[in-house]
């Protein structure tokens, strides 16, 4: 029987920041940044009352402030100062002393779209297995299963 090792139950303590620690943090950032949305530009579209951001990959996103919890109570005057940070990682609203993560915001806007929720819900339902599904699948299998796909004609292959 393996006993608990007391050294594994010590409260963690802050370590000095060495070159290796800094190197690892740089690597972590580079790796993570390649998977994150970053803003090239951000602005408040007064005409449409919409927060707009152009991402570094060329896509443009927009949402009314009501969809962005941290901006729900912001006035149009305050939103006029909205801009992207130099590194594109966050949006800045100086008047509110507010920094908003661009990746978190874009992910939220997309994830909380009712259509996206509906689609991901449908996908999850499709992935779910159950005894009833297994029985149904076996029953369908006894009928011959899925029809075999026909070879494509030359015209279909283009």
């Amino acid at each position: 029987m393996v006993k608990d090792n007391d050294t594994e139950w010590l409260l963690p303590r802050r370590k000095p920041i060495t070159k290796d620690v800094l190197d690892r943090a740089i690597d972590t950032d580079e790796e993570a940044a390649s998977r994150e949305h970053q803003a090239q530009e951000a602005w408040f579209d007064r005409q449409h009352g919409t927060v707009m951001l152009k991402l570094t990959d060329g896509r443009v996103f927009g949402a009314e402030p009501g969809f962005i919890p941290s901006l729900r109570d912001a006035s149009p005057k305050q939103l006029r100062g909205l801009r992207a940070s130099d590194n594109g990682v966050y949006l800045v609203v100086e008047d509110l002393d507010l920094h908003i993560s661009v990746d978190g915001l874009v992910t939220r806007i997309m994830e909380e779209s009712p259509l996206a929720i509906k689609r991901s819900g449908a996908r999850l339902v499709g992935l779910t297995t159950s005894p009833a599904k297994a029985i149904s699948s076996a029953r369908n299998g006894r009928l011959g299963g899925r029809p075999k796909s026909k070879p494509k004609t030359a015209a279909q292959q283009g």
Binding site: K19, R24, S70, D86, S101, G104, T107
Partner: protein, 149 residues
């Protein structure tokens, strides 16, 4: 220095030096009094370790405020970096009467965390576990393991 809105866990503070062109992210914990450099991006020269140590010391001195700010900003989505991790406990004398550990390599006895919350008034972190138990923990008196510290 700031905590960003709409940000992802783990809980962290951004430290920006516009003049030298770098942004450092320091991770912190709702269980342990600790911080560690998590991500770092620069345009120009690297800062010295001593400079970053001073930033880390400032975060350590303000951990309750960091936790409060993170919880106020991200608490509605219950993102304090502990959900779906596993916690184990052992009895001790003093403190909360037990020690909780969220390890990097949890043992078989560890139980999954399904929900986590924080009360800034009392400085306590509450964990709801998948076996139905609730743990109420004094922030700073328990163990969260991380690669950054």
């Amino acid at each position: 220095m700031f905590i960003g809105a709409e940000d992802h866990p783990p809980p962290h503070v951004h430290a920006v030096h516009s003049g030298e062109g770098w942004v450092a992210r320091f991770r912190f914990s709702f269980l342990s009094d600790v911080t560690g450099l998590y991500r770092f991006r620069r345009r120009g020269r690297r800062p010295t370790g001593a400079t970053l140590d001073r930033v880390a010391d400032a975060i350590m001195a303000n951990l309750p405020a960091c936790r409060e700010n993170w919880w106020a900003t991200h608490g509605s989505r219950h993102e304090i970096g502990l959900v779906n991790r596993r916690v184990e406990t052992r009895s001790i004398v003093g403190g909360d009467g037990f020690l909780a550990k969220v390890g990097l390599k949890p043992s078989k006895a560890a139980v999954g965390i399904v929900s986590a919350g924080y009360d800034s008034g009392s400085g306590r972190t509450a964990l709801i576990l998948e076996d139905g138990r609730t743990l109420s923990l004094t922030a700073g008196l328990h163990i969260e393991e991380a690669a950054e510290w």
